[in-house]
């Protein structure tokens, strides 16, 4: 019955993300950012052509002329989920568009995620609090708002649910749950590359358990089927395939798999042999085992050493060595999501960590430690930390509330009745609770506030509450006033948290980045330039025209404009991107030649309105220079800076990207070419293009589209007759069809 009573608040908690996202839909139900547009396009393809076509989909509208095998290179979990939802709804005659389904997949799954958090925190008030916190935590909101149709949207649910099933199996030792766990893991593998977090964290926990001597058959059942089934299932996902057994990210799980078998064998033998015999056996086995181990390790080392990156993929390597990316792979470094987070981003995202840790199983401890490390390395993995932090603070909060309310109840009871038996009951209650919140919890509790206090000086209400919490732990039954004040403080803190979350969700994460707004004295200005240009492209260019742009806009162009692009956000071919970068940072003629060789007809340049988009340009030069040595970053720099004022280098002034931007006749807009952001006057005005022509500029000048002019006939002869001959006969035969 107690379980049933908790259902209504849980329902409320799972609807929180919905209400929150409804609160913060500021613009429209639209897909956000860049990657979600790709996912949306894939879902459209899936819903239109079916699953088999999807697996075999070779996309010829991107990475021209290379193309991309979509079916084999995407994590299909999200797409399949949304596609299935769409299919079910439509077969029930609920005609929702694919877009609507895509937009609302993330909020729906965030509700599932808070439900899974409730389960993972093992019911009770703590679970509810954790679920409510997760429903609102800003770092997760960033992926769960309507329109954030990204892999993480479903992956976080899968992650937490996998952990829940793992814990469940660990507690029950049921093969049924172990199988479910493997399936949940399979769903996680389908959804997100972050599945490696699971397949490394669980082995670590198992190892921890073995080392601390807590091996049990339940641990074996929780782990061994997961590795066997999970790996088999993971190999079914095309994008993972044999990587599931070949790459180093998965080796830890196999190693622990072997270890757990050895340990299991040892325990078994220990059980059937007498202690004396056992000692003999141990020496025997250890000596043989060492030899075998050495051989295996040698083979492994040889295997790993033979592969160029040591068997680790670039992104994973950058996890282990945060400086790896900027050293070797420009493209990984250029994605801001892969960069180490700045400290303010911590404050922004994790506001939930006021947490003395109490009934913490070793797994949750391990989880939070690991996720803190990983999120420190890569800002994107902040997401993994969010559920952990929520669980922690959920436990802490509900403990605090329990104690405060109990002491208030006790004090009130004393005042009204002043009977001893009541007191006894309450104190026994408190004792049991104290047992629950174990001694270990208290130790951590003392460490934590000091650590967090440094990070979170921004929140003044935080410290007193933590202090009061510690005080409460010592006294157990607090004076009435103190507990009421502390309770109020806690409630206030909770309220602040909610306000902060709503604010963060509304201001920071609900902006679909393709629509920008600015508040000015005469009202709100909407900058919808990107969609304007995409709409123009889709209606006013030929369906097979190729468009060159910097890779950021690739996904959006294919999804919204339906035009073939040269490079896109799936940065799988560095050389191709470098080619575009080179073209963008070359003089006009050279750029024309590169683009022409790529069969490009239009070039899309982001102009940024009144300022020049130099930040993107920096990466064009760097990535271009990384492959084509004639592009040297030094040529573009003056005093270590990119400058476009009178100090600018001739190279930067002549190159296409800035050139086209500069060419827009600044003189006529405001009298002089002036870069508003950098507050410098641009020297090169009245730039005249000879190989490109401007065909479209959006309303606020943010996007400009240039068309490659056709090649001029080569008429250099002096006589008129010669001219005629060459123009009619020769030059035309050089082209495709002499009869045209």
């Amino acid at each position: 019955m107690a379980a049933l009573e908790r259902i209504p608040p849980l329902v409320v908690a799972s609807f929180l993300p919905h209400s929150l996202c409804a609160l913060v839909i500021k613009y429209e139900s639209v897909i956000h950012e860049f990657d979600p547009y790709f996912n949306y396009r894939v879902t459209q393809f899936l819903s239109k052509n079916g699953i088999y076509e999807f697996w075999n989909w070779f996309d010829d509208r991107t990475w021209y002329p290379l193309g991309r095998v979509i079916g084999g290179t995407v994590y299909p979990g999200l797409t399949l989920t949304a596609g299935t939802i769409w299919w079910v709804l439509n077969s029930l005659n609920i005609p929702l568009s694919v877009e609507t389904v895509c937009v609302f997949t993330a909020p729906v799954f965030s509700a599932f995620a808070s439900w899974a958090t409730y389960l993972l925190t093992k019911g009770s008030g703590a679970g509810l609090t954790a679920a409510a916190l997760l429903a609102m935590v800003p770092s997760y909101i960033s992926r769960s708002v309507a329109g954030s149709y990204d892999n993480e949207a479903v992956a976080i649910f899968a992650l937490i649910f996998t952990f829940y099933l793992y814990i469940k199996t660990l507690n029950t030792g049921s093969l049924f749950y172990a199988t479910l766990n493997a399936i949940a893991y399979f769903y996680m593998v389908c959804s997100w590359g972050g599945y490696t977090f699971i397949i490394n964290l669980i082995p670590m926990h198992v190892l921890l358990c073995i080392v601390t001597g807590r091996y049990s058959p339940r641990l074996y059942i929780a782990y061994a089927p997961l590795v066997v089934l999970g790996t088999l299932l993971a190999a079914l996902v095309p994008v993972v395939g044999f990587n599931a057994v070949l790459t180093s990210e998965h080796f830890a799980s196999f190693l622990v798999f072997i270890i757990i078998h050895v340990v299991a064998l040892v325990y078994y033998i220990k059980g059937i042999l007498s202690p004396k015999m056992f000692k003999v056996a141990v020496t025997l086995v250890v000596s043989i085992g060492l030899v075998v181990c050495l051989i295996v390790v040698a083979v492994l080392v040889a295997l790993v050493a033979s592969s160029p990156t040591g068997g680790w993929s670039g992104r994973s390597l950058s996890l282990l060595d945060p400086t790896y990316a900027s050293k070797y792979i420009q493209i990984i470094a250029s994605v801001s999501e892969h960069q180490p987070p700045t400290w303010p981003s911590y404050f922004m995202d994790i506001n939930a960590c006021f947490s003395p840790l109490s009934d913490a199983s070793s797994f949750v401890v391990l989880y939070i430690v690991m996720s803190v490390y990983f999120s420190g390395v890569m800002v994107r993995l902040m997401l993994v930390l969010a559920p952990a932090a929520c669980i922690m603070s959920g436990i802490a909060l509900s403990q605090a509330f329990d104690v405060f309310t109990a002491s208030i109840k006790y004090q009130l009871g004393e005042m009204s009745n002043s009977k001893d038996d009541v007191k006894e009951k309450i104190s026994t209650n408190n004792e049991t609770k104290d047992d629950a919140s174990s001694a270990k919890g208290e130790k951590v509790a003392k460490e934590r506030p000091s650590k967090k206090g440094k990070k979170k000086e921004r929140e003044p209400a935080d410290k007193p509450s933590v202090k009061s919490k510690i005080a409460k732990k010592k006294a157990l039954v607090l004076p009435l006033e103190a507990s009421i004040v502390a309770l109020l403080l806690l409630i206030m803190l909770g309220a602040f948290y909610v306000i902060h979350c709503v604010w963060a969700a509304a201001e920071a994460y609900s902006v679909p980045s393709i629509v920008l707004t600015s508040q000015s004295h005469d009202g709100l200005h909407v900058f919808d330039d990107f969609r304007e240009s995409y709409a123009w492209l889709s209606h006013n260019t030929d369906v097979d025209d190729k468009l060159a742009s910097w890779w950021d806009y690739g996904y959006q162009t294919t999804a919204m404009a339906n035009r073939t692009v040269i490079v896109d956000n799936n940065t799988w071919n560095n050389t191709h991107i470098a080619t575009v970068g080179t073209a963008m940072s070359s003089p006009e003629k050279a750029a024309w030649e590169i683009f022409n060789s790529l069969d490009v007809k239009y070039v899309l340049v982001v102009f940024g309105g009144i300022d020049l988009n130099i930040n993107k340009f920096l990466w064009m030069v760097r990535i271009g220079g990384g492959v084509f040595p004639h592009i040297k970053e030094a040529d573009y720099l003056r005093d270590g800076q990119y400058r476009i004022d009178s100090e600018a280098t001739p190279t930067i002034l002549n190159c296409l990207c800035t050139g086209t931007n500069l060419s827009c006749k600044f003189v006529e807009t405001d009298g002089k070419g002036y870069d508003w952001v950098r507050r410098t006057e641009i020297v090169k005005k009245n730039f005249k293009l000879t190989h490109f022509e401007e065909v479209f500029t959006s309303h606020h000048w943010m996007v400009r589209i240039y068309k490659l002019k056709p090649q001029k006939n080569r008429i250099r002869g002096k006589g008129k007759k010669l001219k005629l001959k060459t123009s009619t006969g020769f030059s035309k035969t050089a082209k495709k069809n002499p009869w045209m």
Partner: protein, 461 residues
């Protein structure tokens, strides 16, 4: 110029097999052709006299083959009474075929209200509307150029009857006229070119003229418009309109410079347009304006008692040949549009045509989605359209909703007249879907109740 004037007349009296053609003559004809927008409107005033011996029940209007395919609509009215007591009586006009039509001339048959007795005269007002009749020349213009167009017609009225006296006026949008064919007497004054008066022209006289003039009015052409009108007996009509808009004027060539477009609006892109006006019904609510990739934020709605006006801009200005697609949707209260006929049937009374002002619709499809369970649909329109029935499955439908599809080509704003769709409907069907939902939830809860209370264990715990 003289060389280009050739008047030909065809001897028809011998060949035309019916008598009325010979027995009528046009005493006086005045034609005013309005070329100020891309929809060419011609106002015709005819004074017809029966010179035969038998009463004439109808008369023919003739159109050259080049015009007949662009002819969007022909209306005729008889004027009775004089001066201030003038009353207009609409007459029945329908296209007909004549067996011996010279040079593929097309005909419309106007039926008089009462047959014209010998010697009697009647004054008719005829309006006909031509679309796609202005040919841009030059056919491609740059951003800074103004749009020039050709209009081709005849200086004398093509008619199977003898016309005693006639005049034709062409009204151009501006005083800039590059050239016009001279058919004496012809002269131009400001925005008006006058041909005539011509006396005593034989039947089927023709004098081709070509007017080359400036026309920068927005050539807004909707290539295809699908309007879906969904009737919900729960209280509203939901209208969704899918537009595929194009600029039908001279094609844009070369550079589009935003600087010029924004700073020198008067001389740059004068033939382009970036704002449109839609006239929506009064009491309209929940209006949205979007396209395939999301909401478009540039629109204003003014609601009024007689009509609502939605002023909106496509995502980008449209130059010659550019296209844009968008969707406009809105909702109106049901009680203003759905009525019960005396025979118990219900009928929807709604406006045909396209809500955008001054636009041509090449292909208009109106889909009236009747509520699930309605029967015997029939549509009543003042002109002929293609009719079809479809079935649509919407929210939780089982048998599907009947859709009356009305399809018409070449639609102009003059077609915005009411039409009716009659159908029978039993109110009990309204409760079908709520009942379905209620029972579905009921069974879920009953099932969960049963699951909680039934012990499925084989071994007692």
């Amino acid at each position: 110029m003289a060389a280009r004037i050739w008047i030909f007349s065809v001897a028809v009296a011998l060949f035309l097999s019916f008598s009325s053609a010979q027995d009528l003559q046009i005493v006086n004809a005045e034609r005013r052709i309005d070329l100020s927008s891309h929809i060419v409107k011609a106002f015709f005033t005819l004074k017809v006299e029966n010179i035969g011996k038998d009463p004439a029940a109808d008369m023919l209007l003739a159109f050259p083959p080049t015009q007949i395919k662009h002819l969007s609509m022909v209306q005729a009215m008889a004027i009775t009474g004089k001066k201030k007591k003038k009353t207009y009586l609409p007459l029945d006009v329908k296209p007909t075929e004549q067996p011996d039509a010279p040079n593929d001339t097309g005909y419309f048959l106007v039926s008089f209200a009462t047959p014209l007795t010998p010697g009697e005269t009647v004054t008719l007002e005829v309006l006909y509307i031509l679309t796609h009749s202005l040919e841009p020349f030059p056919s491609e213009i740059a951003q800074s150029e103004s749009q020039l167009v050709y209009y081709r017609d005849s200086a004398v009225i093509l008619s199977p009857y003898h016309i005693k006296q006639q005049t034709t006026f062409f009204k151009t949008p501006s005083a800039r006229v590059e050239s016009f064919t001279n058919v004496e007497p012809a002269n131009r004054a400001g925005k008006e070119i006058k041909y005539g008066p011509y006396e005593d022209r034989a039947p089927y006289s023709y004098a081709p003229v070509n007017v080359h003039f400036e026309n920068n009015s927005p050539f807004a052409v909707v290539e295809e418009l699908v309007r879906e009108i969904e009737i919900s007996h729960w209280g509203s009509l939901q209208i969704t309109e899918n537009y595929r808009l194009t600029h039908g004027g001279a094609r844009h060539k070369g550079v589009f410079s935003r600087v010029d477009y924004q700073s020198r609006r008067s001389i740059s892109g004068s033939s382009s347009f970036n704002a449109l006006l839609a006239v929506l019904p009064p009491k309209v609510n929940s209006v949205y304006y979007r396209d395939d990739i999301g909401n478009i934020s540039t629109s204003h709605l003014r609601t009024g008692f007689k009509k609502s006006e939605l002023e909106f801009e496509p995502r980008y200005p449209l130059f010659g040949g550019w296209r844009a697609t968008f969707i406009i949707g809105y909702r109106v209260p049901l009680e203003d549009y759905l009525f019960e006929a005396p025979d118990g049937r219900r009928y929807l009374n709604f406006t045909f045509g396209c809500p955008l002002v001054e636009t041509i619709v090449n292909k208009l499809t109106i889909k009236v989605v009747l509520p699930e369970g309605s029967k015997d649909p029939s549509a009543v329109l003042p002109f002929t359209v293609n009719q079809d029935l479809q079935v649509k499955y919407s929210y939780l439908d089982i048998v599907g909703r009947t859709v009356v599809v009305l399809q018409k080509d070449n639609v102009v704003p003059t077609h915005n007249v009411p039409f009716q769709v009659y159908y029978t409907f039993k109110p009990i069907y309204m409760l079908a879907e709520p009942f379905m939902l209620v029972s579905a939830f009921f069974f879920v809860f009953v099932a969960s109740l049963a699951y909680v209370h039934i012990d499925l264990n084989i071994v007692k715990k």
